[in-house]
C-alpha cells in the first residue's frame, strides 16, 4: 500500500560488513546498543559472530556484550520472518478488547506470540505500548502503524502479512 513499508530485505551476514558497521560507529560514546541496533538493521538479527567483534572493538568481555544483547527485548538472535506483526498487549489495548483480537491473530497464524510461522513468512510478537492508546487496539506491521483494530481490520492485517 505504502512504498515506505516494503517487507524486510536484509543483507546476508559477513564479517567484513560487521567490521564496517562497528568502525563507522567508533566515535559513539557508550555505543554498544547503537551498534547492536545497526547490526539488526543490516542483517535482520544480531549474528552470534558479531558479539566477540563488538567486545574486541569496545574493550569489553564477550560476556558483557552478550549480557547487553540479551537484556533488551528488541534484539533477535535469529532472523525474523519476512514480515513482523507486533500487537500491543498493554492495558489500554486490553480495555479496548485487544486480548480477543490478539488470540484471533494467534489462531489465524497458527503460532503463539514470540514465534514465526513454519513458512517463515510472519513473526508474531507482543509489544507493550505503541502510544496509540486512544485509537486502541493497535498493532504495527513492519513499521506501519494500525489503530482502531477490530475483527475485520486484524484479519486484513494478518492476510497482508501472510502474502
Amino acid at each position: 500500500m505504502n512504498a515506505a513499508y516494503e517487507p524486510n530485505a536484509y543483507e546476508p551476514w559477513s564479517a567484513d560488513r560487521g567490521t564496517e558497521i562497528i568502525e563507522s560507529l567508533s566515535h559513539v560514546e557508550g555505543g554498544v546498543i547503537v551498534i547492536l541496533h545497526a547490526m539488526q538493521e543490516a542483517f535482520g538479527y544480531v549474528p552470534e559472530a558479531a558479539i566477540p567483534m563488538i567486545a574486541l572493538a569496545r574493550n569489553l568481555s564477550r560476556a558483557e556484550v552478550h549480557g547487553v544483547f540479551t537484556f533488551y527485548h528488541d534484539f533477535r538472535h535469529e532472523p525474523a520472518g519476512k514480515h513482523v506483526l507486533k500487537i500491543c498487549r498493554a492495558e489500554a489495548c486490553q480495555a479496548a478488547g485487544g486480548d480477543a483480537l490478539a488470540a484471533r491473530a494467534e489462531a489465524k497464524l497458527g503460532v503463539k506470540f514470540g514465534n514465526t510461522t513454519a513458512d517463515q513468512r510472519v513473526t508474531l510478537e507482543p509489544i507493550y505500548c505503541l502510544g496509540l492508546c486512544a485509537t486502541a487496539p493497535s498493532a504495527m506491521l513492519d513499521g506501519r502503524l494500525v489503530g482502531r483494530l477490530d475483527e475485520k481490520r486484524i484479519d486484513a492485517l494478518v492476510a497482508e502479512a501472510q502474502r
Binding site: 500500500m1 505504502n2 560514546e29 557508550g30 555505543g31 554498544v32 546498543i33 547503537v34 547492536l36 541496533h37 569496545r58 558483557e64 549480557g67 547487553v68 537484556f71 533488551y72 527485548h73 528488541d74 534484539f75 500491543c88 498493554a90 492495558e91 489500554a92 489495548c93 486490553q94 480495555a95 479496548a96 478488547g97 509489544i127 507493550y128 505500548c129 505503541l130 502510544g131 496509540l132 492508546c133 486512544a134 485509537t135 486502541a136 493497535s138 513499521g143 502503524l145 494500525v146 489503530g147 482502531r148
Partner: protein, 523 residues
Amino acid sequence: MTSSDKALKIYIPRDAAAVSVGADELVSAFEAEAQKRKLAIEIIRPGSRGLLWLEPMIEVATPEGRVAFGPVEEKDVASVLDAMVANGSHALRLGVAEEIPWLKKQTRLTFVRCGVVDPRSVEDYIAHDGYRGLARALTLDSAGIIADVTTSGLRGRGGAGFPTGIKWKTVADTKADRKFIVCNADEGDSGTFADRMIMEGDPFVVIEGMTIAGIAVGATKGYIYIRSEYPHAVEAMNEGIAAAKRAGYLGDKIRGSAHTFDLEVRVGAGAYVCGEETSLLESLEGRRGIVRAKPPLPAHKGLFGKPTVINNVLSFAAIPFILDNGAKAYADYGMGRSRGTMPIQLAGNVKFGGLFEVAFGITLGELIDDIGGGTFTGKPVRAVQVGGPLGAYFPRELFDTPFDYEAFAKRDGLIGHGGIVVFDDTVDMSKQARFAMEFCAIESCGKCTPCRIGSTRGVETIDKIRRGERVAENIAVLQDLSNTMKFGSLCALGGFTPYPVMSALKHFPGDFGPAPSRLQAAE
C-alpha cells in the same frame, strides 16, 4: 502542488495516532483528487491537536481560521474537498478548530503549538512565539534561570514529581569537567502518549527546554533517549535537531552567545525499566538497563559519572513557557503543591479519548465523564487505571479525587505521567492484577529480589486465588508479598507494581476468588 498564495492550504496530521488510522493515505488521496480537478493545494503535516477520536482530523485554512473536518476516511475526500473549496457545510465539518469545545476548555501552555505548527520548520516555531524563552534565558545568569524554574513550582512530569528547580540547582552547584542534560523519552506506560505527541508535533519546544537547561547548569551536551516503539518521534526529533543546528539554535555559540549546546537522539531497545532514570543512564552508556542504587544521585554522578539533569519530555517542554512568560504565569495555575498544567491522556475504552491539558485540580470524575464522555462501548465505567502499569485502579466511588500529586498519594494512587485508562463493566479485576505482576516479571531488571522473584510469586498466587485454592490464605500471602515489594524494591517498577494489585483487591474484592463467583458478581 504549489505553494502560491492561491493554493488551498490543507493540514493533515503526521502524528502516529493519526497515521495509524489513515492520515498518510489521505495525503495521497487529496493529492490525486486535486490533480484530477487541476486544483492548487498545499498539504502541511502538523502534529495532532489531540482530539484523537476525531483522527484523522484535517483542517483547511479559511478567512475565519482553520476549519476542521473529522474523522475523515478516504471515501470522504472528494466531498470534503468540495466543502473546503466552497467553504460550505459537510457532515464531518467541525467548525473552526480552536472553537471546538473539547479544545477550547483546555489550558494549553505546553501543547499550545501541537497540531498547529509544521514540526519540521524552525521558522514556523519562531513565528508561533518559539525560542522566546531561550532569548530571555540568554539575558539571565544561571541562578536567574534556575530561580524562575524553582518559583514556577514545576515538578517532574515523568511521575515522581520532584521539584525541577532543585534538581537543576544541584547540578549547577556541582563542579565537573563535563555535565549532561538527559531527556527521558522512554514513555512506556500504557495509556500515555503525551511525550510522543509533543515530540512529533512540536519537537523544538523540547529542544528549547533542554537548551535552556544546558545553559542553566553549564552542560554542553544533551541526549534524548527515545523508546524504539516510537519511530515517528525519533524521526521528528532528529529532523528538529538538524533544523535547529542549521538555524544556529544548537551547536557552538548559540545565537551569538558564549554558550555551546548539542543534542543527540539515542534509541532504546524495548526495555520498560529503562524509563527509570538510573536504568536509562546505564542504557545510554551502552549497558544492561540495571537500576543503580541511590545515592549517588544522578545530579551528582549521572551519565558517565558526571553531574546530570535528567527530566521527562514534558518537564523540558514546560520550560520555554516559564522563561518566556515568567514563573508566576505558570504557578498561577494548579492547586496545592501541584502548580501549572498537566497534559492528561484519556485512553482505553473511552468515548472521547485524547490529550487534555488542564491546570491541576480537575477531578477524576470530570475527566472521565464530562471530558471523556464515558466508555465507547456505552457500558458503565467500572474502573480506571491512572498513571500507567504501576498506577492504582480507581472505582467510581473515588472519582471525586482531584488531579494533584498529594491527593492521589493520599488515596494510595499516583498520577504518574498523567495517563488514564478507562475500563467498562466487563473488566475482570483479578486478571488486571495478574497482568500487573506478569508485566513486572517480564520487565524486571533482576537486580533486587522483591521485584525479580516477588512478581513471579505474585502471578502464581493470583492464579491460585482465581482457581479458588485457599482463597483467604492466598489473599493474605498476596498482601504480604505486595508489602515486601513496595518497601523492599530498589526502584518504582517493583515498588509500585503493588499499587494496581492492591487497589484492585481493595476496591473489587468480589473479583478475587474462583471464576464462578467472579461471573456471578459481574451479573
